[in-house]
C-alpha cells in the first residue's frame, strides 16, 4: 500500500498522452500501394482524365487519412480535455472542465473501435484501439470516447483539477 501526498490546490497537474494507430498507418499504406499498382496495370491509362482524377482524389484521401488519423494526442487538466489528431493537431476538440459532467474509464471492445474520428449528433468517438478508454459525459448530453494511453491517469487529472476549481462540480 502506498499513499499519495495531499493535493495542493496551487498545483497545476496536467496529463498528456499520445496514441499512434499503426494499424491505420499500415492499412492506408497498403491502400496507397494498391492504388499505384492498379494504375500501373491500366497500361497507358495514366493520361486519361477519367482514370487520373479519381486516382488523385483517392491519393488525397489517403494522404489526409495518414496526416489526420494516424495518432491521437490528448491533454487533460485544469483547462479541460483537448483532443488533437494527426501530425498537425487537426481536427481538434476541446471540452472545458465545466462542460464535463462525468469522466470515467471504460473497457472498449474491439468491435466498438472507430479507428478514426467518428462524429454523430450525440457522440464523438476518437478511438484507435480497444481496451481502457476515457469516456466523458458532457452536460449537453454528448458522449465523448477517446483513446488515451493511460485513461485512469487522465481521469485522475480531470478530477484533481475539478476538485481544485472553486466553482466546479465533481467530474
Amino acid at each position: 500500500m502506498t499513499s499519495l501526498p495531499i493535493t495542493d490546490p496551487s498545483r497545476h497537474a496536467v496529463y498528456t498522452g499520445r496514441t499512434t494507430s499503426w494499424p491505420m498507418v499500415a492499412t492506408t499504406c497498403v491502400a496507397a500501394l494498391f492504388v499505384v499498382l492498379m494504375g500501373k496495370e491500366s497500361n497507358g491509362a495514366w493520361g486519361d482524365l477519367v482514370f487520373v482524377v479519381p486516382l488523385i482524389l483517392v491519393a488525397i484521401g489517403i494522404l489526409a487519412n495518414i496526416l489526420t488519423a494516424s495518432s491521437v494526442r490528448a491533454t487533460a487538466g485544469p483547462n479541460g480535455f483537448t483532443i488533437r489528431w494527426g501530425l498537425f493537431g487537426w481536427p481538434r476538440c476541446s471540452y472545458r472542465l465545466d462542460e464535463i459532467e462525468h469522466a470515467e474509464v471504460i473497457d472498449l471492445p474491439l468491435w466498438r473501435v472507430s479507428y478514426s474520428l467518428w462524429w454523430t449528433p450525440r457522440r464523438t468517438n476518437c478511438t484507435v484501439r480497444s481496451g481502457p478508454t476515457v469516456r466523458l459525459s458532457m452536460r449537453n448530453g454528448r458522449i465523448v470516447t477517446v483513446t488515451v494511453p493511460e485513461p485512469a491517469a487522465a481521469v485522475a487529472a480531470l478530477r484533481e483539477a475539478s476538485a481544485a476549481a472553486p466553482d466546479a462540480d465533481t467530474v
Binding site: 499519495l4 495531499i6 499520445r18 494499424p23 491533454t75 484507435v128 485513461p151 491517469a153
Partner: protein, 209 residues
Amino acid sequence: MPVPGPPMLEENSSRALAGLVAQGTGRHALAARCVVSNGPPTPQAYGIDTSFRDPSSNNVRTQRVPHRKALTRGWPEPRRPLTNCVYGASINGTMRWTIDLTSRERLQDQIVACVRRGVASGELPVGEQLPPAAELGTALSVDRNTVLAAYRQLRDDGVLEFRRGRGARVVSEAPALSSVTEAAQKLIATAREHGLGTNDLIRIIKELT
C-alpha cells in the same frame, strides 16, 4: 539456493484499469495504478490501487480493488503483461506534468524538472516525442516561449534533440536517482536524530526551495 518469491509486475496502463471507476464506489479517486501479480492466481492478483481522499480524516488513502473480471471469470495466472492484450494501436507518449504557479521556482525550471523526472522514471523513453510547445503551454497555462525555453535548456543539456518536422525527442537516459535517494536517506536519518518528523522535513524543504 534461495527460492525467489512471486514476481510482481506493476503496470501504469492495462486493460484492468477499465474497472477503475466501476470499482471506485463513488469516492473521489485521485490516482490509480494497476498492479498485476504473477503469483498465485487469486482475484487479488489483478487489482487496481486507487488513491482517494478519506472524508473523515481528510487524508489520502490507497486501497487495492480487485478487478471485476477477475472476480467473475476467475482469470488464471497471467502469463504476460496485460498491456499486450490491447489491440489496435501502440501505447506511447504518456506524461504527467505538475507545476506550481505560486512557487518561487521559475516555470521554465519546473517544466525542465518534469521532463527530467519523466525520463528518470521511464515515462519518457529514448526516442519519445514531447508535446508541441504551444499545446503544452496552453495545457499548463503558461506562455509558449516558456515551454520553448525549457525545451532549449534540455536540448543544451543533451536530454532532448530538435528535428524539423518531428518535434522535440528524448535522446538520452537520465542519470540514475540512486545518489538522490542515498542523500535523502541520510537527510531522513539526520532529521530523526534531531527529532524531526516527515512533515517537518517537507516544510523545511519547501522553505528552502
